[in-house]
């Protein structure tokens, strides 16, 4: 039964993908239906699986088969492992089950929302194909039983991310962003890849069930463990957009907004955090690794949050917010609290996908990403959207009793136990979070609606109008009017469902539900006990953040003007995104491509020039010389022949003498 369910989860989206590819031209319209069907099957199966295993009795369960024999002899001189082989299979344990449920359910909602969002796009068959393929890869990643298989799907989700970011490939920015995302991810993955291989060579197994901290500590020196852990962690940094790899995530907002909701906030980017929990044995085996993880997480949380405070683009705000929240989760891991990290991952997945979908709803309607523009267009009139947005933001700001509160509280608690400094960082980031959340909310709420906006701005400004592409043919109001009942349902259902989830998922980690989620993940001993001191501090910070936002943005128009005119080092730093992008541009264009150009030059001049062209010229020159020797003058010929003859004569005399001497 388990295996059948697992196969369903894994294969249903793939099947949907294949069916969509094979649909004949006329039936391409059915693509959304197929994709939603696949997602639904996967979601139902994973819920069923979760239900079956709620008692956690038979876990963990591994279903694996041999995939590839690698070696029959020790690969490394010091290892004694006689047989190396790689397997593929499903691993089912609480962590997986939680994650798979999360992924499939959110995927289902995003699929449904996409049906609304992409209704007018000519290429939606391709879109839904990719989306299904993403679902397939992501479920594969979550369910995989070993590190290499994870890497396999890890790359595949990277691919789908690439394809979906570049979905509107006619736009250069989309292509650029997609490439940037892929290459930056690749950069991180190199470490992951090497780490995996090194682990395999040294340890002989990549199965998660074998990666236990105590076993590893016995087998290897701490330095080795640190190296391995950090190498794999580079992969995490890439995928989960940790500083300094975070640069791709904001750009990835070039993709359609539901994609951002699904891939770039809720699931794929969280895969890094998931991997930290999944391979916890490896990471926790070395204290240094954890320390580095904590530092990177803190940096990321701070950078993300600070950059989120200056964005005008609603998706960028959310993207940086995602970066920051991912940093939070990684901090939790670094502080030695994987359960807290995973808890935050779960709640974050719900509220952030909700936020993105809301943003999508706005963008779809107003054809702009700029919050000021949305506000001028009358964003606050969309009551449903505003309501769920507020709800999501409150959750993001960890206001009780929204879900974010519980998880973030747990992280802060872990940080406080671990080190006061990082606790401080966490608190400061929380403050920033509150500030940028309410900045956005206030701008949306307090802006005055501009008259005739729809007519004045039929097309969004190029810099912001990422999603506007799909609607070139339609005026905004037409689109609104054209929404049928089914589409409205497709829009509302995910929003409301996710809002509800955002409200209640957090509660699963409270004593109210007997800490069900935490027990589920971490065993019976983990309790959430509200540390009132932390709550007090966070609430104070919340108030401060809101107050600051209120102070600055109660009049958004004025604030906009003020922001445009002001100039100071901090603003410059934030505008240039801490110069991370510039650093990358320098590395790629200034160093990498220059080096490549140099090599290309060498290839042309040295290898081609000297080895081929010069050599052939030399031979030709020799030929010309030889042909010049043939001067046409008989006596030149004879002289040469005779001269050679005389030379030979003397040679023969001398060697003959030698010969005689030897013979004698």
């Amino acid at each position: 039964m388990d295996l059948a369910l697992l196969w369903t989860i894994q294969a249903a989206p793939l099947l949907a993908f294949l069916v969509i590819q094979l649909l004949p031209g006329g039936l391409k319209k059915a693509a959304p239906l197929v994709a939603v069907g696949g997602a639904l099957a996967a979601a139902l199966s994973s819920l069923r699986l979760l239900w079956l295993h709620l008692d956690g009795g038979s876990l963990p369960a591994v279903f694996a088969v041999n995939w590839l024999d690698v070696a029959d002899a020790p690969l490394w001189a010091h290892t004694q492992i006689p047989h190396y082989s790689l397997s593929v299979g499903f691993l089912v344990d609480p962590l997986n089950l939680l994650m798979i449920t999360l992924v499939t359910v959110i995927a289902l909602f995003v699929h449904v929302f996409s049906a609304y969002y992409m209704a007018d796009d000519a290429s939606r068959a391709r879109y839904f194909g990719f989306l299904s393929f993403f679902a397939f890869s992501m479920t594969g990643l979550v369910l995989s039983s070993n590190l290499l298989q994870t890497f396999l799907f890890w790359e595949l989700v990277g691919l789908t991310s690439y394809l979906l970011i570049g979905f509107w490939y006619e736009k250069k920015s989309a292509g650029d962003a997609a490439r940037k995302a892929f290459v930056l991810n690749r950069l991180g993955d190199l470490g992951f890849y090497l780490g995996t291989i090194l682990l395999f060579i040294l340890f002989g197994s990549l199965d998660f069930v074998d990666l236990r901290a105590d076993v590893l500590r016995q087998a290897f020196a701490p330095a080795v463990l640190t190296t391995l852990g950090l190498l794999v962690f580079t992969g995490v940094m890439g995928k989960s957009a940790q500083f300094p790899f975070h640069a791709w995530l904001p750009d990835a907002m070039e993709g359609p907004t539901p994609v951002s909701a699904l891939i770039h906030s809720a699931t794929m980017v969280a895969a890094g955090v998931f991997l930290l929990a999944r391979g916890w044995g490896l990471f926790s085996a070395s204290v240094t690794t954890l320390q580095v993880i904590l530092v990177i997480g803190s940096l990321t949380a701070f950078v993300g949050a600070s950059l989120a405070t200056v964005q005008r683009d609603i998706k960028k705000i959310m993207a940086y917010s995602t970066v920051s929240q991912l940093g939070f989760m990684v901090m939790a891991m670094g502080a030695g609290a994987p359960v807290a990290g995973m808890f935050h991952l779960s709640t974050h997945a719900c509220f952030k996908s909700l936020l993105f979908l809301t943003a999508g709803a706005f963008i779809h309607h107003f054809h702009t990403n700029d919050i000021w523009e949305i506000a001028r267009g009358g964003g606050k009139k969309d009551k449903l959207a505003m309501a769920v947005l507020t709800l999501g933001l409150l959750s993001l700001c960890a206001v009780p009793p929204f879900s974010g509160f519980f998880s973030k509280d747990m992280i802060l608690e872990a940080l406080k136990e671990h080190s006061l400094f990082f606790y401080g960082v966490g608190l400061f980031v929380s403050f920033l979070t509150n500030y940028y959340s309410f900045r956005m909310l206030f701008v949306l709420l307090f802006s005055k609606e501009a008259a005739g906006r729809a007519a004045a701005k039929p097309h969004a400004p190029a810099a912001h109008g990422h999603d506007a592409h799909a609607h070139v043919a339609h005026g905004a109001s037409d689109a609104a009017h054209a929404e049928t009942g089914l589409l409205k349902f497709c829009r509302a259902l995910p929003l409301v469902s996710l809002a509800l989830l955002s409200l209640y998922v957090g509660a699963l980690g409270t004593p109210l539900f007997h800490n069900a989620l935490l027990h589920w993940l971490g065993g019976a001993e983990i309790e959430s006990h509200l540390d009132l001191s932390i709550v007090a501090v966070t609430m104070t910070l919340f108030a401060a953040g809101v107050a600051l936002a209120w102070f600055q943005f109660r009049d958004p128009e004025a604030a906009e003007k003020r922001l445009e005119s002001s100039a100071n080092p901090v603003k410059l730093l934030l505008d240039r995104k801490f110069f991370v992008d510039d650093a990358y541009v320098f590395l790629v264009k200034g160093v990498g491509l220059r080096l490549a150009a140099l090599l290309n030059w060498i290839d042309k001049k040295a290898f081609n020039g000297i080895l081929v062209d010069r050599t052939s010229y030399a031979i030709l020159g020799l030929g010309k010389l030889g042909s010049k020797l043939q001067s046409g003058q008989l006596q030149d010929y004879l002289s040469l022949a005779m001269a050679v003859g005389v030379l030979i004569l003397f040679f023969v005399i001398n060697s003959g003498g030698v010969h005689l001497a030897v013979g004698g």
Binding site: S631, L634, L638
Partner: protein, 103 residues
């Protein structure tokens, strides 16, 4: 002993070298032909010298020399007619003016 084998050989070598010199230095084709005759004669001297000092059958060297002379005649025959042909075609019998074929 001036009439030793070696003295004949040295004489022949001298003739040979002189012939080679003429062959390489003269421009006139007839002079070159003359130089060739010197070379052939030096070979004849060789044969007869060896005939006297080295060969048991005293006819061998002589026969060889006879043939050398006969073939020299044939060679001069062809050579002269070729030279004359060249002279007719080019109006010159200088060897360095017959340098059209080259490269």
């Amino acid at each position: 002993m001036s009439q030793s084998l070696e003295s004949y050989l040295f004489l022949s070598a001298a003739l040979f070298s002189i012939g080679v010199y003429g062959l390489l230095a003269r421009r006139n084709l007839v002079a070159i032909l003359i130089s060739l005759e010197l070379i052939l004669n030096s070979a004849s001297i060789n044969f007869l010298a060896f005939n006297k000092f080295c060969l048991a059958d005293k006819a061998v060297g002589q026969v060889f020399a006879v043939f050398v002379i006969a073939l020299a005649a044939a060679e001069v025959c062809i050579g002269l007619s070729l030279i004359l042909l060249l002279y007719r075609k080019r109006g010159s019998i200088n060897v360095d003016e017959a340098g059209e074929l080259k490269g």
